[in-house]
Subunit: 456 residues, 2 copies
């Protein structure tokens, strides 16, 4: 039986595959919120049952956090490892969703059919593309294409606290010839892409305390330190007027783009007007003198992901709050050292505190940037397979997001990561009304079948 037979099987099975994905999407596996811990466990169980039914030797593996799912199948040929994550982002603000985020449906839209629901694109839909590709392969060919390892985690959206310890404890089991990671997107929603440059991520939460209790601004207004004002000043000072980040030493290890990569990216003719226009913006708001692709792929950033303090209910309350809080993240590139930057950031905040204020910090993950070495033969084989499926030459691109797992494979198991995904820019991942195009799901499954054929 040929690759074409596998592809035909995938086409014929698409409706059932979609039903299976919808079943998985119904489980609200929000990893960052302890209230959903049991649901994360249920999602892991669901995957174990599914892979087990395909003949994979699979088990749920406990961690101090949410469990891993690890499965093995086949033998001979190259050893391919597939990584994905079954956990999802929180869904708030819930009132901006047009339907229950965990009651997914297939919707007809002007741009085609989509699977709507939290996790459809990030990452359950993507994770299922290679599960379904291998299901079809096994059904048609009667055996696995080569030695396969499945490795699914449930903490990717909450900083992956158990990932590194688990990988270190199971190095031999997780060593493979390549780590295939499906958690990225098409370039500009149309060009298949292999991500070879990933930003790191440093997360910091800070709480500034001034008075020891909430005060009445009528009594204390004008004389008491207001922690929201202090926090606002600190945040305002994190960037200078040209958009550069002011944390001392922040740019240590930030490389300039090579002429070669600069030329390749210019060739991509990135349409930033459409990219921004899709979300009702018009002007790139990053560092002055940088191209839009540099801003999202190769330059480091600092953003505030959340801020809160005082009264935020209906009406008005003339309170001077005791505390103000922010969640701040840094996207890192090159050889920027996340721990050195954490230290420098915290020292900068401490130094900026007026008298009577104190600050506490909580770290939320710290991963360096990573890049893939694309010289191995499998990269060009996969690129050809993707080009064949999508009818467009596949590209090596950067990615603004952080996928720390890529660096972990390099550092812990010595495996090169290959990041291939089928998300689109308008998938609204991490946002209300997340969706995954049925085309992404269908051609994603077919893409993996072609890649399996090309590399095995």
């Amino acid at each position: 039986m040929s690759l074409d037979d596998v592809l035909s099987r995938i086409d014929a099975d698409l409706s059932d595959a979609t039903d299976r994905l919808i079943d998985l999407l119904r489980i609200p596996s929000i990893s960052t919120d302890p209230a959903f811990a049991q649901d994360c466990d249920r999602a892991a169980d669901w995957l174990v049952t599914e892979l087990s039914g395909m003949g994979v030797d699979v088990s749920k593996r406990p961690t101090p956090g949410h469990p891993m799912v690890v499965g093995h199948a086949g033998s001979g040929g190259p050893h391919l490892l597939f990584y994905g994550h079954y956990d999802v982002q929180p869904v708030d603000p819930l009132d901006l969703w047009d339907r229950d985020p965990f009651d997914p449906v297939i919707e007809e839209t002007p741009k085609g059919r989509v699977i709507r629901g939290r996790g459809s694109s990030d990452d359950k839909g993507q994770l299922m593309t290679f599960v379904e590709a291998l299901r079809a392969w096994k059904a048609i060919k009667g055996d696995w294409p080569c030695r396969i390892t499945f490795f699914f985690e449930g903490e990717e959206e909450s900083g992956s606290p158990s990932l590194v310890p688990f990988m270190k404890e199971n190095v031999e089991e997780l060593k493979s010839d390549i780590a295939l990671i499906c958690d990225t997107g098409l370039f500009e929603s149309k060009t298949p892409a292999i991500v070879t440059m990933l930003r790191g991520l440093l997360g910091e939460e800070l709480t500034i305390t001034a008075p020891d209790k909430d005060l009445h601004s009528g009594m204390y207004g004008g004389i008491a330190m207001n922690p929201i004002r202090v926090l606002s000043r600190i945040i305002a000072a994190l960037h200078d007027d040209t958009g550069r980040i002011t944390v001392p030493g922040f740019y240590d290890g930030v490389p300039e783009l090579s002429d070669e990569l600069e030329a390749q990216w210019q060739g991509l003719a990135f349409d930033h007007a459409t990219f921004l226009g899709d979300v009702d913006l018009s002007e790139p708001a990053g560092e002055q003198g940088r191209t839009p692709l540099e801003m999202i792929w190769s330059r480091p950033t600092c953003d505030v992901n959340g801020i809160w303090g005082g009264y935020n209910g209906d009406g008005f309350k003339t309170v001077l709050p005791a505390m103000a809080h922010a969640k701040i993240s840094f996207r890192l590139v090159g050889t920027q050292d996340p721990l050195a930057i954490r230290e420098s950031f915290r020292a900068m905040v401490q130094a900026a505190l007026p008298v009577d204020c104190t600050v506490t910090f909580q770290g939320h993950g710290a991963s360096a940037a990573s890049g893939a070495d694309t010289t191995g033969a499998m990269f060009e084989q996969a690129r050809a397979a993707l080009s064949a499926e999508w009818g467009v030459p596949a590209a090596y691109v950067g990615c603004g997001g952080s996928i720390p797992i890529a660096g972990h494979f390099q550092q812990i198991t010595g495996t090169e990561p290959m990041l291939v995904g089928f998300g689109k820019d308008d998938d609204a991942i991490h946002s209300p009304n997340e969706k995954y195009d049925l085309e992404s799901f269908h051609k994603g499954i077919r893409s993996w079948a072609r890649i399996l054929d090309a590399v095995s």
Copy 2:
């Protein structure tokens, strides 16, 4: 029967009076939150029943918001109007309360017995001081001391939207010789005080919108405008490095202190170290070159009462939020014009917005500062009565808070307001664990009996 008989009756009735107050405190009449509208109504009914039982001709009077309670009793002599409010502040953050805010109790503390619960000091406990004083007077003397009007509102903590229209519609009914307002405190928790200088209040809520939906900072971080950063910059720029407020024209109408008042305030020997130390602060954080009493009584302020945007739950979410919000209030003095300042503030924010950002504003009340004319005989009579009860000379003082009703009496009914209250600095009004000292309640009732005796 003499004043002493009335005071003895107050002493003997204290336990029952406290039980009645606790009964009123059990009603969660949070006016700013629509979920508690029925409770506000119940609190008004409770007051109608109570006054009616004392023989007052009283009724609940509808408004577009929460109802007013208006009652009349007695005739002859001067016409005294008593004002208080039966609504209370919200109770969040609830987890900082040591007990249910609406299940009040008498607690023994190192500083004496206190009535603990939301509204105990602001303003149900204070409001009940003159109700109980008049109850004792009527019981002992068999009649009212003079013509009395009770005027209680239920929207003081939510900007009093119905107050001015109601007063204008009922000018003749509410005209009196003096308006006695019980919503202030003792000076430094020990000296009885008549407030003669009140700051005004302007409330503004703003929402800054950048992208039209929440974005993933992995995809858009570095290129998309972040509304939290924009809001932080705007807040940080509201004060200069000397603590002065930068809104154009803000200081128009701010008077310097008269030499006479400055000398009187210096005589008060305000202990700002203790005032601030009580809430774990040490340094006055207001305008450079101003005394602590100026900062809280006679200088205008700008404070952030609430800020929120993005993700504030457990864990971390790398979201670039679509919106950021703040509630900002200005305390006003002298002849500062709240509406002109609102306009200037909004124009300043608009001018500070980067491209791709929009802002919407919601006003929350706008009242000018006010001061009382203390030349009428009743001021000195009341001051003598207070001095007699507390054993310390009573003082004319300023107040950092805004009690817009004082100005409304002057402007609408032409009545001079006299602000006398018995709250203490550590009452934690608007904060968790609000309390009212049993001494404040007891001596407050006795103070009103003495004032009634002195002025009628």
